[in-house]
């Protein structure tokens, strides 16, 4: 006899199983339409491969699994695909999801299929592939894709088969074990083979199923499979609890049974695996219990996946007036629904239609008196009264410390609470809130990271720009010192400084100038003398003008010399402005002594000289390609004009 | 801060920011000496005296004192006034001085006094500070008086017993025995009673405040005639 450990906590509600085991498993006529959701399992929804209007045969693939954690769906009967779209599905929220609607054609014609004659001839991977393509998911209620569960990362030393069915009212596994024990045992052997023949293989059955126990036992004689029975208590059929009862070890928190080398599957799943491997039949039907006082007939049926619940209830004389609520699943963990059009899916193990006196409306909740009955009942050894306290005050940190995440939502605490507090509702709401907060925190962290990175980048840019600007400023400052506008002014000032020499220097300079101009005058007069015979009038005029010019210059020099005599009083040093003014005045007095003709001659002479200079400048600019070409050209033209005017005036006077 | 009106100072000190019921400062003397009216009144008046004096003095020097030393300076001032009050009580009300014992020097540690010096007197004119000290002190003294009265009436059954300790021989027969001999509800005389009565007073004050707020709210929003817009925010009369 195998050692059995006791379930921690737990409750024993009235079993109410006797109503639905009086008859054998029945079958129902084909419904008018079948609604097959694409997601009847844990993982990604399957991908439809048929289109509206396709004719399909029984067992034909309707949708393929998408990714590793997924399962496909198959046509439960032959017929016409009439719709692929949203339809309400069995979910507590009443939401809709993608479903394939199939109208049966009544033929119930199978697609060609065959199983393996001896599965041991094939490698386990091949068997896994068949299971995967047959759409087998956990039939115990969670719907975990079986092919994934049978392919764990760690070696399995114990295979547990869950025939516990601890919830009241549900008897589908019980009837399956009674009617197909041999198939189940063979299925178990296939599972064992796939998992590499684990050391222990145990089937767990509660002690309220003696017939199932006997049926299974008779087929276990030649096998190493153990059959263990234990006291009926809810929730001993939970995966973690069953593992603890049968092996005494606990699944580590936030871990999987495979972490401790255990795999746990439902007996219905074993049966489905058997049919998939040996017969090649995909998962298209399951045994479901229809029970509750609002249905006159209480019985188990082999129901096609996708059968609307209304069809079931119709054939069980459902009395809607008497029904207080319609529950999919058992009384402890099932959810209530209003829409009768939703289908039976792979995980629907029971449809419960209780009357008002079976499950009266819930009483209003009173204050928690901290009696601790919930803590006694909790199979996960949590403190539900503390969880309630923190859930009511939304203290999520304390909820984490109290391990809210380990609550399996079995409902045992709410069942025993004397104050009728809906404890599981609080926990579900808090879990959802905590999950949302965690997600928000992750995205907020990411946003904060991005923001900080951007801030850094912007700061770096500003800094780089600043550095560049500093460099440019420095370079410009350097350059300005030599050739900027400031530099030009500075150069002029320097020259003025240089020029601003002592009066003695000025005196000697002006003396030298006078001497120079006297020489120029003498040479111009000599020229005039030498030009007296046989010379054109122009040349004569030119020579005379030169003489006059020289005379003017000499006069200027003498007058400025006179002014630049070293003065005994140094404070009266004349500045360049007054000098210029005196020179101009001297020039005017000299000019006043000249006749118009002489004046014009002088003008023509100076203009000619200036024009010569301008022309030279222009030539140089043209050869250099300087930018001032235009300016020089303009200046030269102006001078030419002035010269022409002056000569015209002169010739006017002369004539 | 500087232009707070006298009316506001008065209402603050007596009701809105009452040191004992709202700020909950100075609870040690409040709970310890309010066993009878005479004790409560004695300490209340002493505290008021110290508060007025220290507020005035702190306000006088408020512009000269630097931030670094202001707290020690204020404590010195308060201690001086406390000592003066103590000596006065020792001279004129010796038995009461003996009964109050350590709680007279402990006026120095009354956070209400340092709090007012720091928060008000150091930032306001002398007149305002004196008024503030007077009103805060009165508020405190009134609360002490009320608690003392309640605890004496319901705890021992008398009122105005031993008032001659404070007011001299003329008050010797002010004692009224309300419930006859042999009455005693000791819990009110012991410390738990002080906490309970104080808590009840705070609750009463909050109740009055909320009722007043309700009254004001209904008074303030007259319906505008002919208003055609529908308000979706704010209070709707």
């Amino acid at each position: 006899m195998r050692k059995i450990w006791n379930l921690i906590g737990g409750v024993h509600p009235p079993e109410n199983k006797h109503q639905s085991v009086k008859d054998s498993v029945g079958s129902l006529p084909l419904p008018e339409k079948l609604i097959i959701p694409l997601n009847q399992h844990i993982g990604a929804p399957s991908k439809a491969i048929v289109a509206i209007g396709d004719k399909v045969l029984k067992g034909q693939v309707l949708a393929n699994p998408k990714g590793v954690l997924s399962a496909g769906v198959h046509a439960p009967t032959s017929g016409l695909v009439s719709d692929i779209g949203d339809h309400p599905i069995p979910h507590p929220s009443g939401m809709s999801a993608h479903c394939i609607t199939l109208i049966p054609d009544g033929e119930d014609q199978w697609i060609a299929h065959e199983g393996l004659s001896n599965y041991r001839d094939h490698v386990p991977e091949k068997l896994l592939e068949i299971i995967r393509l047959s759409g087998v998911a956990g039939l115990g209620g969670a719907g975990f894709p079986t092919a994934v569960k049978l392919n764990p990362q760690k070696p399995i030393s114990t295979l547990i088969l869950n025939g516990t069915e601890c919830e009241p009212y549900i008897t589908s596994d019980d009837m399956l074990m009674r009617e197909h024990p041999e198939d189940i045992v063979q299925g178990i052997e296939i599972l064992s083979y796939i998992l590499g023949d684990p050391k222990e293989v145990v089937i767990g059955v509660e002690d309220n199923k003696p017939e199932a126990y006997a049926a299974l036992k008779s087929y276990l004689k030649n096998t190493t499979i153990e059959l263990a029975t234990f006291e009926t208590r809810y929730p001993s059929g939970g995966e973690k609890q069953l593992i603890q009862i049968l092996t005494g070890t606990e699944v580590p928190a936030k871990g999987l049974p495979s972490d401790i080398g255990i795999a746990c599957l439902n007996v219905g799943t074993a049966y489905a695996v058997y049919r998939a491997i040996v017969f090649g039949e995909p998962l298209i039907s399951r045994i479901t219990t229809v029970t509750g006082k609002a249905c006159t007939i209480n019985r188990n049926y082999e129901i096609l996946i996708g059968t609307p619940i209304s069809h079931l209830l119709k054939h069980n004389a459902f009395n809607k007036k008497n029904c207080s609520r319609l529950i999919v699943g058992g009384p402890m963990m099932g959810f209530a629904l209003e829409n009768l059009d939703i289908p039976v899916i792979k995980t629907t193990n029971c449809i419960l239609a209780p009357s008002e006196e079976e499950f009266p409306s819930p009483q209003p909740a009173q204050a928690c008196i901290r009696c601790g009955m919930c803590a006694e009942a909790c199979p996960a050894s949590l403190l539900p009264q503390q969880l309630l306290w923190y859930a009511q005050s939304k203290n999520y940190e304390k909820l984490e410390v109290q391990n809210l995440a380990d609550c399996i939502e079995c409902g045992a605490c709410s069942y025993v609470c004397p104050s009728n507090i809906p404890l599981v509702q609080y926990y579900r709401a808090s879990k959802g809130e905590m999950k949302k907060q965690a997600e928000e925190k992750v995205s907020a962290d990411r946003a904060r990271q991005r923001f900080e990175f951007q801030k850094n980048r912007k700061e770096k840019e500003i800094f780089a720009k600043k550095v560049q600007r500093d460099v440019r400023l420095k370079a410009a400052a350097q350059a300005n010192k030599t050739s900027g506008t400031e530099g030009i002014i500075q150069a002029a000032l320097d020259r003025a400084e240089a020029k601003k020499s002592s009066p003695e220097d000025q005196h000697s300079r002006s003396t030298r100038r006078i001497a120079r101009f006297e020489d120029q005058l003498r040479s111009a007069q000599e020229k005039l003398e030498s030009l007296k015979e046989g010379v054109t009038s122009d040349q004569h005029e030119q020579a005379k003008a030169a003489v006059e010019d020289a005379k003017i210059r000499l006069a200027e020099a003498i007058s400025s010399h006179g002014l630049s005599m070293p003065i005994s009083n140094p404070s009266e040093t004349p500045d360049s402005a007054s000098e210029a003014i005196t020179r101009a005045q001297a020039k005017v007095t000299i000019q006043a002594g000249l006749s118009d003709e002489e004046k014009l001659c002088n003008t023509i002479v100076s203009l000619t000289a200036r024009l010569e200079k301008a022309t030279t400048r222009l030539e140089i600019a043209k050869t250099e390609g300087s930018e001032h070409i235009d300016a020089f050209t303009v200046a030269a033209d102006k001078l030419k004009e002035k010269l022409a005017t002056a000569e015209a005036d002169l010739s006017k006077i002369r004539t | 801060m500087a232009d707070i009106s006298y009316k506001e100072i008065t209402t603050n000190g007596l009701w809105k920011n009452n040191p004992a019921l709202v700020q909950l400062l100075g609870l040690c003397p409040l709970l310890a000496v309010t066993g009878s009216v005479v004790n409560a009144l004695g300490l209340g008046l002493a505290t008021m005296l110290v508060l007025v004096g220290s507020n005035a003095a702190v306000s006088l020097i408020r512009k000269q004192v630097s931030d670094a030393v202001k707290i020690p300076a204020f404590v010195m001032i308060i201690a001086t006034f406390t000592t003066c009050t103590e000596l006065l009580m020792k001279a004129f009300t010796y038995e009461l001085y003996l009964i109050l014992g350590i709680f007279i020097p402990l006026i120095v540690t009354n956070c209400a006094i340092l709090g007012r010096a720091e928060a008000f007197a150091s930032k306001n004119t002398i007149a305002s500070s004196v008024l503030d000290g007077l009103m805060m002190g009165s508020g405190f003294a009134i609360v002490l008086l009320v608690i003392g009265a309640i605890r004496e009436i319901f705890g021992v059954g008398t009122i105005f017993a031993n008032m001659d300790l404070l007011f001299g021989p003329i008050a010797a027969n002010w004692n009224i025995n309300l419930f006859g001999e042999g009455y005693g509800f000791l819990i009110l005389v012991l410390p738990p009673g002080a906490f309970i009565v104080t808590g009840m007073l705070i609750a009463l004050k909050n109740l009055i405040d909320s009722k007043l707020a309700q009254l004001n709210a209904t008074k303030k929003e007259p319906l505008k005639k002919g208003a055609k817009r529908m308000r979706t925010t704010g209070t709707i009369a």
């Binding site: 402890m332 099932g334 803590a375 410390v401 069942y415 509702q425 | 509800f185 012991l190």
Partner: protein, 374 residues
Amino acid sequence: MALLKLTSPHAHSAQNTARVMQLVILATIPGLFALTLFFGWGSLINVTLSCMVAVGSEALVIRLRKRPIMFYLKDYSAILTAVLLGISLPPLAPWWIAVVGTSFAIIIAKNLYGGLGYNPFNPAMIGYVVLLISFPVQMTAWPAPAELYPSDMQVPGLWHSIQIVLPLLNPDTLSGVSETASGTIDAYTAATPLDTFKQNTGLLVDQFYKKELFFSQGTWAGLGWEWVNIGFLLGGLFLLYRKIFTWHAPLGMLLSLALCSVIFYDSGSSSSLGSPLFHLLSGATMFGAFFIITDPVTSATSNKGRLIYGALIGVLIFIIRSWGSYPDAIAFAVLLMNFAAPLIDNYTMPRTYGYSKSGVKSNKKRKEDQSDAR
């Protein structure tokens, strides 16, 4: 009828708070019966008076809070508090003792903290302690057991007892003849066995037992009181059987009290602190163990916590009884440990499925490790 949209679980056990409270009240009957047998009608009158005041004051507070009165009264918690307080009071105490104590317990100790489930201290014990501190004379005037009356006096009958408790109903008082309640009781009050034992100086315990009528007439721990304790023990065992509470707290308290008295037992000298049997069957020990410390609202949460809670209460009871100035110590011990219950909870969190270590601290550390590793 429309289909209801409700969440799981849909089944519910037959337990509810009102039934739990009613059962506890029911379980006090053996003890009450013993009290009445030995001490007269006083206890029943006290209980009745307390119940009326409790219901009245609870209704008043619920009305002030603008909540449905019947819904809150229906859970019988006020009546239970009143019964427990009424049992603790001396029989034939004046009426205002019960009134003041009960109204204090219900209004201040229970409702001001938030009502049922939110009070940190046991309301009945708060009421008892307030009365004990405020009216020490009336609260220590216990009548003698019936058999110890002087031969010319009888235990007052029901009507007479009512008149003692409510002097206004006594025509003699009204007409001026002074027969105050205390005066009448004086004729037949006696200290409790605990009190007597504590006052003993000089006699060896054996001799003392022979001398004092209390103990010579009684079997183990004083006439009358031992049967009262046995009555409450029976009630408590009944509640254990019905799984109203677990064995941890009561057993913890009784064992630790017995253990303390065993440790300090000096085989009956004149300064003996009492034998284990004496402690267990005298005073309000059994009453406290099964009815007071098992109040779920104010005790520790987990079973391990309750064990520690009960044990510490037992230790405190022994200490106060032996070296404190009060003869009986249940109320003070319970209130002191009510203070400590949250602290005990903090350190006795049970180990959750799947974790290797239990407790709040290890959880916090685990979270820190996880976040560091991340």
